[in-house]
Amino acid sequence: MSEELRVAVERKPNGAILYTKGYINNVGGEEIANRAYELMDDGVRTVLLNLRETKIVNSIGISILIEIIEKMMEKGGRIAFCCLTPVIHKTFQIMGLANYATIFPAEEEAIAELKLAG
């Protein structure tokens, strides 16, 4: 359980993967948003968020994730998630995020389904 969120970006032929590590709160959510908006400005329209190393989220952080999804949808793009803990998955469903973004159990499945590898 780390307070500070770190985000790593991996570009793929047809999009990008954001790897998060740590707590997704207001600050962590903004950090993810900054990376995602940079990618959108660069023309990326498919982004997968891999939350494998995030064990805690809060409602404020999730509200920022919903904003990212909305902005990407406005641009005709798509945000997806993978590798969620069961509790984060449940939290995403309650918050309504699961209605607007696909959630994959594993990264390999997400990459194939989203055709990120080209």
Binding site: K55, N58, S63, I66, I69, V87, K90, G96, N99
Partner: protein, 147 residues
């Protein structure tokens, strides 16, 4: 069912940024010590985080403190039960009014989900609050025998 053992812990935390993580960590350690499973511990941690954020963001209290009390009980069949009280000395609120503003489950909504998440992650939730008299959220997490 008869309770066979009891452990208690009390914390007073300042209302500073990310203090909810300290509360969640303490709760998680306590819950593990009384034998709660990791998924239950995660749910408990998320509920405590939302309760502390609500207190920090909305209580408007003068003392800038969150008071937490934990009571862990092992029931006669060995299953643990954890009672948590999260208290602030703030202005109080109307829980029914807060629930009435709640969006339907599953509908994307940016704010106002804290109480809903607490109720979803815990087995029992009871809110005591009055105008100017502070708020206490009493939450219970069980580890059912068949889980």
């Amino acid at each position: 069912m008869t309770a066979t053992a009891e452990r208690q812990m009390e914390l007073t935390l300042p209302m500073v940024s990310d203090i909810e993580i300290a509360a969640a960590r303490a709760a998680a350690n306590f819950a593990r010590e009384i034998g709660m499973s990791s998924e239950k511990v995660d749910e408990l941690a998320h509920a405590i985080i939302e309760a502390c954020i609500n207190a920090r963001e909305h209580s408007g209290c003068a003392d800038n403190r969150i008071y937490l009390r934990f009571v862990g009980t092992s029931l006669a069949d060995g299953t643990p039960r954890l009672d948590v009280w999260v208290t602030d000395h703030g202005k109080g609120f109307d829980p029914d009014e807060a629930r009435s503003r709640r969006p339907a489950p599953g509908m994307a909504h940016k704010r106002g989900r804290g109480l809903q998440l607490i109720e979803a992650h815990m087995d029992e939730v009871d809110i005591s609050t009055r105008q100017g008299g502070g708020t206490t959220i009493h939450m219970v997490k069980h580890e059912w025998k068949d889980q």
